[in-house]
């Protein structure tokens, strides 16, 4: 019984922390954007403007929730949920820290360890396209519709490359459990080089990274949004809390994607010499969570940095990159990984 209480507390804690990161990211996004453009950024609300996200949230909540004429009310209302909920659920399979022994119970710092692990993550993130599509269609606006069409085509194209990249990692690590994958990456080569999958599968990592940018609709792949050509794309007609949910969903997808990239390619919560993978002390667990947070944060900052560096791709360039570059590269990588895995039988 007490283990159930512990589990419930763990789930609550992980999601409570998870929900606090998007406001922080919005602050970081604005601050980094300003610094890159030689500006200072928000600095009025609170010290260094740290309370700016709170002010934004109050503004968005108190705003009038407008439902334009001729929209499809049901789909228009549920569409933001379709963006936010999958992004939150997909975080459930990410292991965030080492096992910890509390009051005689060994607790895994991971909400769920399914039979299917990473496949569950892929399946759930593929649902987030529905929010964009339904929101775009229900808005009854041609720019929104363009955004919806673009998002569907983009998601299908890049999901293939992403899945193939993941399969390469699965083949080289031999498991679909994210937990086992983290443990497999906890040792070192030559005493100093961590055995991270990024060194086994560099090409798969690059493909996964590019596909992750496309899946989360971040620049340079934010074609569904495209403020300068589509006036905001799928969320043109949205305002107030519904718009905030789209916004939060985007950042939550970004966090989940960064966390999964850290887990797949950068050793998850392990760091040789700092975190002992097989210890169950509280101190070790805290340290592992901090390591995981730093790695994920580095990826999040990289996402933001890229956003303020690169221009948006044209649509044909996007499709060309997806179908003519990434998918053949991923297939080639898959082929060579398979040959390497079967080298004993072949040669």
């Amino acid at each position: 019984m007490s283990s159930m209480v512990l589990d419930a507390g763990k789930i609550l804690l992980i999601f409570a922390v998870f929900m606090q990161i998007p406001p922080l990211l919005i602050y970081l996004e604005r601050k980094i954007c300003a610094f890159i453009q030689d500006r200072i950024g928000p600095n009025r609300v609170g010290p260094f403007g740290i309370l700016q996200p709170l002010a934004d949230a109050i503004k968005l909540i108190t705003k009038e929730s407008i439902t334009p004429k001729n929209v499809d009310v049901f789909l228009y209302t549920v569409a933001p949920l379709f963006v936010m909920v999958p992004a939150a659920i997909s975080f459930a399979v990410v292991p965030v820290g080492a096992d910890v022994k509390l009051w005689g119970h060994t607790l895994q710092l991971q909400i769920a360890d399914f039979h299917v692990g990473i496949l569950f993550f892929l399946a759930i993130t593929s649902l987030s396209v529905y929010g964009l599509t339904f929101g775009a269609w229900a808005s009854n606006n041609k720019y929104s519709l363009y955004g919806g069409i673009r998002s569907t085509a983009q998601m299908i194209s890049y999901e293939v490359a992403m899945g193939l990249a993941v399969i390469c990692v699965l083949m080289s690590s031999g498991t679909v459990y994210l937990r086992e994958m983290v443990f497999a990456q906890s040792h070192t080569y030559f005493g100093f080089l961590p055995a991270w999958n990024v060194f086994h599968q560099p090409l798969a990592f690059v493909i996964f990274l590019i596909a992750a940018f496309a899946e989360t609709n971040r620049l340079p792949f934010d074609l569904p949004e495209a403020e300068s050509e589509l006036v905001g794309g799928y969320h043109t007609e949205y305002s107030g809390m519904k718009f905030a949910m789209f916004f939060m969903g985007e950042y939550m997808a970004m966090i989940s994607m960064s966390a999964i990239m850290v887990t797949l390619f950068f050793g998850g919560w392990t760091l040789p010499g700092v975190v002992d993978a097989h210890s169950t002390t509280v101190w070790n667990a805290l340290l592992s969570v901090v390591v995981f947070g730093i790695k994920t944060g580095a990826f999040l900052i990289f996402f933001i940095w890229i956003r303020w560096t690169l221009p948006r791709l044209r649509y044909d360039q996007l499709m060309k990159l997806g179908w003519k570059v990434l998918i053949p590269l991923a297939l080639m990588n898959l082929f060579f990984t398979a040959i390497w895995g079967l080298r004993d039988q072949i040669f």
Binding site: F35, D38, I40, W305, I306, T309, L310
Partner: protein, 159 residues
């Protein structure tokens, strides 16, 4: 020639955009650490340029017709400003100077500037031989009608 130049195949790292990507990333991170030039307005006011440089950067607003010590308009109706004006917004009706204007033969009976057409380039000011027309730093005029945007001699002298 230029077509041949376009056909030269660049090395793969340029064609695939990898070099450009890295360059862009390096540029943005360089700017990230640069000093910022935002002015925190209500606390800190913007200090204008020093006086010896300031005349180059003077804002150009509405025109003014200067007057001499006796309150007469300085203009001698030479039409140089009208000729110099690129947008043809100055319209001068010259006439013989009335009695008492001992120093010149002509003076403007009417001096009209169409503020809607004026581009505030300052060429009239440059062309004027006797410093009669100058551009002040008064902001652009606002009226309710097109007619109100055509300024006559009296209005220009009051500016």
């Amino acid at each position: 020639m230029s077509n041949q130049k376009l056909n030269v195949r660049e090395p793969w790292y340029i064609r695939w955009g990898i070099l450009g990507l890295l360059k862009g990333i390096a540029l943005t991170i360089k700017h990230f650490f640069r000093p910022k030039f935002t002015v925190q307005y209500p606390e800190v006011t913007h200090t204008p340029l020093p006086k010896e440089e300031a005349h180059q950067w003077k804002p150009r607003g509405q025109h003014r017709l200067n007057v001499d010590e006796q309150g007469r308009v300085k203009c001698v109706a030479c039409l140089l400003c009208q000729t110099a004006c690129p947008s043809h917004c100055i319209e001068i009706t010259p006439g013989p100077a009335p009695e008492g204007y001992g120093d010149r033969d002509k003076y403007p009976i009417e001096f009209k500037i169409d503020m809607l057409r004026c581009i505030y380039c300052g060429m009239c000011e440059e062309a004027c031989p006797c410093d009669a027309i100058v551009l002040t730093d008064k902001p652009y005029p606002v009226t309710y009608s097109r007619e109100g945007m055509i300024f006559n001699k009296e209005k220009l002298m009051q500016n």
